[in-house]
Amino acid sequence: MFSDSSLLPIIAILPFLGALVPGVMIRAGRTACASFTAIPTVLALVMLGTLAPGVMDGTVYRAEIVWLPQLGLSASFFLDGLGLLFAGMILGVGLLITLYARYYLSGEDPMGQFYTYLLLFQGAMLGIVLSDNILLLLIFWELTSLSSFLLIGYWKHLPEGRQGARMALTVTGAGGLAMIGGMLILGNVVGSYNLTDILAAGDQIRASDWYAPALILILLGAFTKSAQFPFHFWLPHAMAAPTPVSAYLHSATMVKAGVFLMARMWPALAGTDMWFYIVATVGLVTMVLGAVIALFKDDLKALLAFSTVSHLGLLTMLLGFGTPEAAIAAVFHIINHLTFKAALFMTAGIVDHEAHTRDIKRLGGLARLMPITATIGTVAALSMAGIPLFNGFLSKELMLHEAAHVTWYQNPWIVGALATLGSLFSVAYSLRFIFHVFGGPVRDDYPAKPHDPPFGLWAAPAFLCVFVVLIGVAPFLAQPVVRMAAEAVTGEELSFYFKIWHGVNTALLMSIAAIVGGVILLGLHRYLDRLWIAAPRPEAKTIFDGLIAGVVGWMRGITGWLHHGAISRYLAVFVVATLVVGVAAFLGGEMGQQTRALTPIPPVAPLGWLLLVVATVLVVVHHRSRFRALVLIGVIGLMISLGFVFLSAPDLALTQISVETVTILLLLLALHFLPKETPVESSGGRRFGDAAIAIAAGVAVAGLAYAFMTRDFNSISDFHLANSKSGGGGTNVVNVILVDFRGYDTYGEIIVLGIAGLAIFALMESLLAGPAGRRLRNADYTLDRSKDRHPLMMVVATRVMLPIAMMVGIFIFLRGHNQPGGGFVAGLVFSIALLMQYMASGFAWTTRRQRLEYHALIGFGVVIAGLTGVGSWFAGRPFLTSSFGYFEFPPIEEFELATAMLFDLGVFLCVLGAVMLMLFGLSRLARHAGETVNKEPMEYDPSNAVAAATTRERR
């Protein structure tokens, strides 16, 4: 069923949907664009209008759409008096601004973009005032920061615009983030993020331990948004925005968001000493400070900006008082300030638009040239000054009345005095606005000839001025609206009556003092201004820019220092971190007793150990000479293989030896293209430190190994031993683990090899095509080359060995399932046999004699292994389930065939292909470096010599 409440989400979403319109409609012309931009606003306003009577009667409309229940975030909206007031203001002024901007923006400005941003902002603002969920409110809150960033930076070619936008985003964004914290705490205290619940739980909140942090964080958000001291400085710089933006965001709506929030949270947070001293004090300081600075600003918009700061301070102070009367005054002043300040901004915009300057010192005498504008400006400024019969007077009177009755730290007069002082300056700058811009003689040095703008431009401020006068003369007209909103703020029934004349009371006397003082102050302005200019005063922008630049520089320094690019340092950090956490973890737990006795050391073991140690030390000593280091690494590898033999792991030993051989061979070949010496890159101190780290890591690893080699433990290996023959069909458990129990791991590892081959191939391609390839072509290899590249002995020997090696490979492959061996080792043995062949006779010569494609080897290997695994699906078994059987083909004895063998074939092919592809890469390098392809298998072929001799003999 359709209820009135369901209008709320529609109202909230309308501006966002509408934001899509201007971008398209701008193609139909500027007027069409503006008109269509107005449509969603008008629609929303109409819908709001249908709800207004209900709200006036005290109904609170609610609508909820579930969004993120885990968090307590829901898209819930509610509309009460305060919300209605603000929503009406946002939409109403929005409409006026749309009209105004149509005539204000020049033809060169992208108007579609402007209206899009404007509607986005309108939606965000509307969301804030309609949210019934504080998390939703946060979302809209941050959205206003973002959309105002876009609007302030709208004239993106202006540095002031960009910097102002960033400053506004920084300050309000920071406040917004603080507020996130505050709101989450608040929600935690109450147990709900629903505003209605929170407002009802004021006592609980104020009694909570978390009240202080929540209050401070939320106020940070409100103060930054509403430009309260000391966060006020961003607002004047936001004036770099086009004037419609200033009028809308920076006087009427966005900066009021902070005030709105304080008003909204009033029942939940207000009423404590803390609230009073923070909010009222900050408001008071802001009010006075803003008013003083405003008087000395020559830029019309800057004057209005600081005046806005001052009035926001006034509102904040009133809310800080925490009394219902103050709340009434605040609500009333919100309305009044909106009317006159928006009108003033628009007036300033008109002056700027027509006279091409906003500098008060270059203006004056405009009353005769642009009478309509002058009238509007004067009416609005008089209201701002608080002159009777204009609406500003009424709310100011209320404010002074409240201020006069506040005691601040047992001081009964200070607040009243300061408030009067603020009013005094307020009168002064308002009158300055009137007299220095419109008054005085007509000048002849305006940058452009001023005249009244078209109706479209002055219609909006004039409309607002109607309210200024109407409320000023007949305040009872505003009474129901103020009561509605004030009751929503305080949550209690209020009865009050607005009157123009209250009789002679303190407030009136203060007001008179302010007006008289203000007039005197304006008279003295010329002298005071000189003093002001001469006086040293902190420039917020310089401080802010310096601060940001400092922070950026600092962070840049830290980042650069941390990530300075040396891999050795990164590794050192990695090792140290590992050591620290490892040792800490170890010390934090209990270590059981050693359960295995140490075995006696056979005489050969220390010898091997010593060799290993010596070789390792020598590598460290000689690591700059790369060939020597490589040879020594080979020694280490062999010692490790022997270690495996010693520890009864023949499969591992076999694999290790063949891997060692292949890698050393390939590395030797690769080293040919690299510098033979490693340059000295680290200082002695560095090396000392690195050595310490390395030794510590080594000791830790040794300790760890010792710890678990001296303890007994149960493992799953027993199952493997028991099931190897019966389940896997092989007696070599290691091989059965590799191809069966954990065949999937092996599958992954051969793919790693295959990928490595592909990656090396791709790398080589891009290397040789780039500058590295050119360098290679021009490189001068200083080492003497052998005159006999392909020596006879080696060619002959490798040819003899080739079939033998292949037989060995096949043998190792076939026996693998039951004896040490298998596809991996077989692949390596094959590779070594071929490698030798290639080394002996040259790559190209050899390649011509074999037709296999290396990519194909890898491809086939991976595919065969994969398909073997997939094959078991057809037997209804999981991937890689093996099956085996015993067959008899006479005359061969009974033998076993296992699918694991097929898988092993895949392993074999993949290993072979990968090694060969690497070799291929190296040979490409060689040819690129100018190596010639030999036609003959060996440099000196005796058979040729014999043949030649025979030929000679025959002759």
């Binding site: 983030l177 990656a759 078994r877």
Partner: protein, 517 residues
Amino acid sequence: MNHWIVAPVILPALLAPLIAFVMRHDIVVARAASAAGTVALAAIAIGLTVMAAGGETHVYYLGNWPAPFGIVLVLDRLSALMVLLTALLALIVLWHAIATGWDARGRHFHALFQFQLMGICGAFLTGDAFNLFVFFEVLLIASYGLMIHAGGKVRLKAGVQYVVMNLAGSTLFLFALGTLYAVTGTLNIADLVVKVQDSAPGDQALIRVAAMLLLVVFGVKAALVPLHFWLPATYSNAPAPVAALFAIMTKVGAYSIIRMHTMVFGPDNAATGSMIGDWLFPAAVLTIAVGAFGVLGARRLMPLLSYSVIGSMGTLLLAVSVFTPYGTETALYYLIHSTFSAAALFLLADLVVSRRGGDGLGVQRPTVQNGLFAALFFAAAIAMAGMPPLSGFLGKLLVLDALRGPDVIVIGWTAILIGSLITILGFARAGSVLFWKSTAAPPPEAAHEAEQGAAPVDPPSPASALAIAPTMMALALLAALTVFAGPVTSYLQDTSAQLHDTAGYVSSVLARDGEAE
């Protein structure tokens, strides 16, 4: 036995060699095959997610060996989610790579890409610690191949750092597994859960060492400070689609921590207790700081994005570090968000940087489509920095909400909120220089007059709709993640609950006595 569980590994593993061998001479065929494979992977992933959504833990016994003796694949909600995430990201990235021609700038892109997918999916699906190592290797070597795709001096240098740091991590992985096996005698994760819980007091020291070493290993992958050093240079210099794909690589590390350190070394077992969280929390805070500092201090766009990735990993790991079901839930939400927002940023940066001719954050004349790129950058940056209305903000709120413990709330919240602020500033500065300040540079006519006589440089061609589509898709996914935050978190709640229900996992995996003959 449902063979679909192994399909995300087998499909790319069989396709990749075919692309490498049969189709390596024709890029069109390779593209078609790779695209078809990735679409199929996505379809399978959706199927698996549906299958897992029921809440059952599906186990696939490879080689038909009973657990814990063989290797098992485990499909639960978490692994299904990660595979789906991978497949979706892969689709977006592949599309971008094809549309911008990145794939043709070096050899074997598609084969390596498929192998990479195989590695990532394998890591997510496995239920075996050693097998996880194997797939770490697969994805490392494939990612190295992808990272140096198309070559170039700086890229190769960064590639070396990447592979060396990660190989160091892999080596340590072996140490950790060795230690773990030496104490528990098993590598099956479910079995490890049981063995670690039932461990004798005397085993505690070694179990703790193994747990911490594993944390370091996964921390390297997840770019946890101080193990993150490889990331900035790698992401900044990798080809853009690869950098976008890498958005899931850091998540592999995070996933592994979530999987292993929640289930095996969770806070409720006597051996490790709160140790993991105690170390992870400060490291995550530092990670946020390093990321945020780097974003604001960056002089170039690509490092800026890289540091923003580090920062988001910090936030993610901060949520992980509390090791509560709710913390994991929020971490997973943030994980999804972080993946797509990083991808969107890197893909967009590619479009922009390739038209600007460099990623320096200096003033240049506006390039083509300035407005469009600015709008997209704005959206993607908002997402990454965690501003509303995109999922980054919701994710951040969720993480903050999860960090309510009295001992983490102050530092955790401060880190996240201040980190966000710095990140926002960094993005705002970069965006305003890239897209706004550039409009203040002299207009093209003036510049042409200035360099009269010199050959006019052709303006870069505008990006086609096809090239922009992947970026849009990533952003659209973020929008969907925002709008459907309720259903998504509800699913993640179930996911997290299933993860924390280790007993259910153990009984599912170890249930079968085995049918091996």
